[in-house]
Amino acid sequence: MEKTVNHRAWFLVLPVLLLVAFSAVIPLMTVVNYSFQDTFGNNEFFWAGLEWFQQMLNSERMWNALGRQLMFSGIILAIEIPLGIFVALNMPKSGFWSSFCLVLMSLPLLIPWNVVGTIWQIFGRIDIGLLGYTLDMIGIDYNYTQNALAAWVTIIVMDVWHWTSLVALLAFAGLKSIPDAFYQAAKIDQASRWKVFRYIELPKMMGVLMIAILLRFMDSFMIYTEPFVVTGGGPGNTTTLLSIDLVKMALGQFDLGPAAAFSLMYFLVILLISWVFYTVMTNLDKREG
């Protein structure tokens, strides 16, 4: 049966377009306008041309922040994705304990970002925090306000605690969608546990895992609140990730022009990586379909 093509349905999208225009397109246009001008307040602007872009491209500060950001996203993806899959594989597949695990896993996802930051900020303190105090008691030199390694470990463990559940829940949904016949066939063929994972479970989970990687990458690449609450970007600048640096520049120093150029480049990197992920995902779907 032929589908009816009716372009009038596009009018139904108009309210969303209007909303997106006000929440995203108009602010983005303003940022583009700011990135080519200089201001000293009073809504007075002076043409600066490509100066801010050039300054940002030659700024060691921005490249360092980008390096830290890529390292942060890389580390949390390398931990959360395998750990999420491992958790999903070991969760009960049905019954009371399955529901119990699902609810338990969802709890960290329901906690607001700033509360997560506050929890870990207190948890890691060596005077009153359970983690910091315990580590200090057993003789481990842990102080996230003074030691860069301790600060990094804290923000990474915090992110893993907060978001591994999301990966596990998505992987679990992928696992649940595999028909029993696949496992029965594998059993007849006497496939090992590893082979069942490698040739049945992993390919069937690939779609949802790509979504998990995309979501976690995007979210971690734009992360602000949690590390800001815990370390404030310190000690020194060691945990100053891109968004923390951007806010310091735009609101702390009120350098609107350089900050606008910085945020446009930040936006382009996110757009590029999201496009790559999206393309890989849709092509995987088509190949499976």
Partner: protein, 91 residues
């Protein structure tokens, strides 16, 4: 609109982008096309190729500014045109 700090160059930039989007939307409605697979081994339509062109052009301009400097920036647009032609021909 004053708070948006409009200038003629940035307004022209957005008008060009808007004109491109409108043109490609009309083209997609009037002359629908089947997606094709190019050198990237992914299915693309005209709209996808426009997106790849624009995104690539942004990076070409930034790379030119960082590596060559702002004095010859218009030449970066020439590179972008070559990039656009290559994307529409082979991607």
């Amino acid at each position: 609109m004053e708070w948006m700090a409009w200038t003629w160059p940035t307004a022209t930039f957005f008008m060009v982008i808007a004109a491109l989007l409108i043109t490609f939307s009309i083209l997609a409605i009037k002359f629908p096309e089947a997606p094709r697979v190019g050198v990237l081994r992914i299915e693309t339509t005209r709209g996808d190729r426009l997106f790849i062109t624009l995104l690539g052009s942004a990076f070409i301009n930034l790379a030119w500014l960082g590596l060559v400097g702002p004095d010859n920036q218009p030449w970066a647009l020439a590179v972008c045109l070559v990039w656009a032609a290559a994307v529409f021909r082979w991607v």
